[in-house]
């Protein structure tokens, strides 16, 4: 395997001093790859990403065990700002746009760590190219844009920092199918052309496995399965539970009945 950019080693995370959420999660993100983190609600994907980008503190969570290394450097004690300086940017789940700032101001704030004016202007142009919808809404306050527009804004804002490792938390949530595809195309684009590495937490397994190189599957705070994306996509369980194509045909949502299924890896 190539160089490891990010090496998460057996971390445990506790919220509020009492709620143990991650119970020893390890994963590696190789340079220039797209790694997907899959798993159901509450599996701990967001928490994992927060632990990496050091945003746990504001949620009153802390890493109590294990280590996180960025290109060999321990980063548990760096501030999120330090991490952005090192090129690691997180796109937070649930948008988190700056409500009172306009879309354009939101994007420009994303370039806080960039000092070159031309670079910022070029980046802005690039983001507007990726998301033309943002351009038409550029002067409107972020709070007054639609959910999808905010999602684009959040992604665009992260791109403004010229990152080399992006932690994407549910990028596709709330986006129209067309845009979802576009977003993933953008991810692929950045990955291939600009060598940006991605760690991506997703519910849309279909898409994620299509674009990712490698995947981890989480369940209640543990990694339960991992492997190259292509392999995962052919795994029977993954097919059934995450892709909905178990047993050949895609099942209609109408027909799925409520029998309790049991995942084999939980056995």
């Amino acid at each position: 395997m190539k160089d490891i950019v990010l090496n998460v080693n057996g971390i445990e995370v506790i919220y509020n001093h009492v709620i143990l959420v991650l119970k020893g999660v390890s994963l590696q993100v190789p340079d220039g790859r797209i790694v997907a983190l899959l798993g159901g609600n509450g599996a701990g994907k967001t928490t994992t990403l927060r632990a990496v980008s050091n945003l746990l503190k504001g949620e009153r969570g802390e890493v109590t065990k294990g280590s996180i290394e960025l290109r060999g450097e321990r980063i548990e004690n760096l501030t999120p700002a330090d991490l952005v300086q090192r090129g690691v940017v997180q796109v937070m789940e649930g948008r988190h746009c700056f409500a009172h700032l306009t879309i354009e101001e939101n994007l420009l704030t994303g370039a806080y760590t960039r000092s070159s004016k031309q670079e910022v202007a070029a980046n802005l142009e690039k983001v507007y190219n990726y998301f033309p919808r943002l351009k038409t809404r550029r002067t409107s306050q972020a709070a007054y844009t639609s959910g999808g527009e905010q999602q684009m804004c959040a992604i665009g804002r992260a791109l403004m920092a010229n990152p080399n490792l992006v932690l994407l938390d549910e990028p596709s949530m709330g986006l129209a199918p067309q845009i979802v595809e576009e977003v993933f195309e953008i991810v692929k684009d950045l990955n291939q052309k600009e060598k940006v590495t991605f760690l991506l937490a997703e519910q849309n397994t279909n898409m994620a496995l299509k674009y990712a190189d490698y995947g981890y599957i989480m369940e209640s705070g543990r990694i339960v399965m991992d492997g190259p994306a292509a392999e995962l996509a052919t795994n029977e369980d993954v097919k059934e539970f995450y892709l909905g194509v178990g047993g050949g045909e895609r099942k209609s949502f109408r027909d799925v009945k409520s029998y309790k299924r049991r995942k084999r890896w939980l056995a």
């Binding site: 945003l55 501030t79 999120p80 700002a81 991490l83 988190h96 700032l101 704030t109 709070a143 007054y144």
Partner: protein, 309 residues
């Protein structure tokens, strides 16, 4: 008529002085979403530092020029306020990232107690003097037009001028620079701001430094007017309707709010007060602010309060 104008003018001047204190509130609120209860205490602390340094420095260093003493004292007091900003960030704010407004408000209450305690321990709790050579005598203008002329307080005019300059400079800073934008971003969402690399620590130190300097200027002016003692902190309470009326997030709002409140409270006290036994200006200022709020719930220039589902 002459008296009316005089009252009006007096109100405008007082308003500018309130604006100076209000500015401190606005700065910190705008840049971190914290309602800084400690603003009054900061004004007092800065004024105390300046007054005492101006007294001590000539003794320590053995010179006698009052101008030099004042300049040095101002600088030293500024340094002290920087230190305060740094300590506040280190020991308090840093640990309260992403907490709710009420929690942060409470933290600034803690800071108030600390500043009061430390300030009085270091600098004493007597009454002290700041003498920066502000003219104290009145100026009577338009004597030919109005009987008795119009009295203008020179000290107030100078103070108002300083306040205006500060406000203009800070408005430009917020609207036009990238840092200003980053500050507004922080106020909206600490966590998102962190996630895109805005160093909250540094930002907060900067803002509290600026607020500290504003407090120092306010403290200097109010202190030279009133003398430096504990009650100086209470001007914060008079500045509160100003902040609210102008909008918690608007720097120019502080000035406009100040002018409206200043004029409103003076006119009300002078013209309505005697009818009801006087002493109405404080609550009148608040009621006036409230009246404006009913029309514009976010204050005159405040950012619109957003609630969307």
């Amino acid at each position: 008529m002459g008296f009316f104008l005089e009252t009006l003018l007096g109100g405008l001047m007082t308003g500018m002085l309130y604006a100076l204190v209000a500015l401190g509130f606005v700065l910190i609120f705008k840049a971190s979403g914290v309602f800084n209860f400690a603003q009054g205490a900061m004004v007092l602390f800065a004024a105390l530092a300046m007054a005492r340094f101006a007294e001590w420095l000539p003794k320590w260093l053995g010179f006698s020029s009052p101008v030099l003493a004042n300049v040095l004292a101002f600088i030293l007091a500024g340094v002290v306020m920087f230190a305060v900003a740094w300590v506040v960030e280190r020991l308090v704010l840093r640990h309260l990232v992403n907490q709710e407004g009420a929690t942060l408000l409470m933290a600034t209450l803690g800071i108030t107690y600390l500043l009061d305690g430390i300030g009085q321990t270091l600098f004493g709790s007597d009454i002290y003097k700041i003498d920066v050579g502000m003219p104290k005598d009145p100026l009577i203008a338009f004597e030919s037009t109005f009987q008795g002329g119009i009295l203008i307080n020179k000290e107030d005019v100078i103070a108002a001028g300083i306040a205006a300059v500060l406000v203009i400079a800070l408005s430009l800073f917020f609207q036009k620079t990238g840092t200003g934008r980053a500050l507004r971003a922080v106020a909206d969402d600490h966590q998102a701001a962190q996630s895109i690399g805005i160093p909250l620590n540094r930002i907060w130190v900067i803002v509290w430094c600026v607020a500290g300097v504003v407090a120092l200027v306010a403290g200097m002016i109010w202190g030279s007017k009133l003398g430096v003692q504990f009650s100086l902190a209470t001007v914060a309470l008079r500045a509160l309707p100003v902040v609210i009326l102008g909008g918690l997030t608007s720097v120019p709002g502080a000035i406009i709010g100040g002018l409206i409140i200043g004029v409103g409270e003076k006119l009300s006290e002078v013209y309505i007060g005697p009818l009801v036994g006087g002493g109405i200006e404080i609550w009148f200022a608040y009621v006036l602010a409230l009246g404006f709020l009913l029309v514009r719930p976010q204050g005159l220039f405040g950012e619109k309060i957003i609630d969307r589902v």
